[in-house]
């Protein structure tokens, strides 16, 4: 089981994501934005940070990097893809996920241990959770305010594509949405950082481990 983590210029949490993958028991494979190869990984993580300095819009320039063409093709064929924070913004820019992120309401950079509710376990990254389960995951961003048109929001709600909701909305996100998935359930994006919640020494919870356990159990069951 190999999980790739893409490094873009300006990625910050790629090494934390690689470490979290290793701790989960999978093989961590560093991937590079400038190469269109994703080796032979079974799943891909787009990490947090400020790719290309967040110039233009968060994720807007990274979306056209060589690796993303391959990631988009793979995602459309069903490969598990997780976008964390900047990775979520990138997935929205790539139109693999609906909506977009704007500045936090109140203009504050938010950095908290955020309570979330798991709204669906019907994705490859959340199948080891329980629906309705409340978890704590680190949240840290200035542009995490999820917005989409009323029609898109309705479709996300009706199709059970809202994966996580904030308990106590920290940034003005529509419908308290913290994370969503695509129709197929293989692409998930969320603003909180599960890779920061995998070790007792540094984490307020170990709830991030379930993300990695989920994708490992999904891929193992499929093989």
């Amino acid at each position: 089981m190999k999980i790739g983590v893409v490094t873009f210029p300006g990625s910050l949490d790629d090494h934390d994501a690689l470490r979290a993958v290793r701790l989960s028991g999978a093989e961590a494979v560093p991937l590079w934005h400038g190469s269109d190869s994703i080796d032979d990984v079974d799943a891909i993580i787009l990490p947090g940070g400020f790719s290309y300095g967040d110039y233009l819009r968060c994720g807007a320039i990274a979306r056209f990097s060589p690796v993303m063409g391959t990631v988009i093709d793979a995602a459309n064929k069903g490969m598990p893809v997780l976008g964390i924070c900047n990775g979520f913004q990138l997935l929205c820019e790539a139109h693999l996920l609906d909506g977009a992120m704007i500045r936090n309401a109140g203009q504050q950079f938010v950095c908290v241990d955020q309570r979330l509710r798991v709204e669906t376990k019907d994705t490859v990254w959340t199948c080891e959770f329980e629906r309705g389960q409340e978890i704590t995951i680190a949240l840290k961003n200035g542009e995490g305010n999820f917005q989409a048109s009323p029609e898109t929001l309705k479709r996300l709600e009706d199709n059970d594509q809202v994966v996580f909701r904030y308990i106590g909305n920290p940034n003005g996100s529509a419908n308290d949405i913290a994370g969503i998935t695509n129709e197929r359930g293989n692409v998930v994006g969320l603003m909180p950082h599960p890779e920061h919640n995998v070790e007792e020494y540094t984490s307020s919870s170990l709830d991030g481990r379930r993300f990695f356990e989920s994708v490992i159990s999904f891929v193992s069951a499929r093989v």
Binding site: C92, I102, A105, Q147, G172
Partner: protein, 79 residues
């Protein structure tokens, strides 16, 4: 050299936290009754004349990269 300008604005129905903050700051400075929405202006230098093909290409560029049409609208203006 000719210039084409692309103006990008947050869509009216999308909250504009930056514009809201600027509006608040103006009020505190004594500028009352001014409501601000903040966008982006791209000045694009073009070799030769601004033909319909050039404008169409810039419109394509705006759609693809300069604006995120999920949350933003844009206009292309030849100067």
């Amino acid at each position: 050299m000719s210039r084409v300008v692309v103006n990008v604005m947050p869509k009216p129905e999308i909250l504009d936290p930056q514009g809201k903050a600027v509006t608040g700051a103006l009020q505190r400075l004594g500028f009352h009754g001014l409501s601000v929405r903040q966008g982006k202006r791209f000045e694009i230098e073009v070799d030769g004349e601004v033909t319909d093909e050039v404008l169409a290409e810039i419109r394509d560029a705006a759609e693809k990269l300069l604006a995120n049409t999920v949350i933003e609208s844009f206009e292309v203006v030849a100067e």
